[in-house]
Symmetry: C2
């Protein structure tokens, strides 16, 4: 199938699919007219990539996961470890965002938010700690 159909079926933009080829994640064959030609195996790989990217794995992690997927001798522990590491990173990011949110929420709560010019948010950003922001 052409790239357009591969895009539609995998849920990835054609542009992204070409990019994945450029960085050696996929190697479709070419039709006589020079068009890329995707087989079922290729489509499968694209779907794998779409799913793993959407789960937050980086391109390089996807590359590793794909190679593990290709390797019939892999140990499931290897895959599990990558996924666990990812969970840890996600947890860390969530904590960071929660902390940011708390700080911003305190600032917003303390800002009267009308047309007067005095603003605790700007005061805080400027280093005037008028409010306890956790």
């Amino acid at each position: 199938m052409n790239i357009g159909q591969a895009a539609e079926r995998s849920g990835l933009p054609a542009k992204t699919i070409r990019y994945y080829e450029e960085i050696d994640l996929i190697h479709p064959s070419r039709a006589a007219n020079g068009y890329r030609d995707y087989g079922d195996q290729d489509l499968h790989r694209l779907c794998f990539l779409q799913r793993s990217r959407s789960l937050g794995f980086t391109i390089e992690e996807c590359r590793t996961l794909l190679s593990l997927y290709d390797d019939e001798q892999r140990a499931s522990a290897d895959v599990k470890q990558i996924a666990k590491m990812k969970i840890d990173l996600i947890e860390k990011k969530i904590k960071e965002l929660n902390s940011l949110k708390s700080t911003l929420s305190v600032l917003v709560k303390n800002c009267h938010g009308d047309d007067r010019p005095d603003c605790p948010i700007l005061d805080d950003l400027a280093g005037k700690r008028s409010v306890e922001t956790i």
Copy 2:
């Protein structure tokens, strides 16, 4: 003061400070030898940038916040709105990450994680929905 000291006092790398100048967020004067020379006002702006960046505002948001900060006639509501929008974005991101985490956790839980090759994580990525992943 030189860029090194401005960096130390603001908590921003010198490289970043030069970048902020390049994109017109700050305009330090120059000493006779060509070195950048930061005054108290400049340092203040750098600290403002450091704080607002660390709170998750993008550079362009920082630019807006700085211009509001400079504007004696601003309405605090304008600032509040930007901060609120940021909170919404942060909340959305947190939800996304929680969802990712749940999915990955289910996959990890279902993977025996030993040296056998069968792996529910890879199966899921490959589109074989063997597990309910929310």
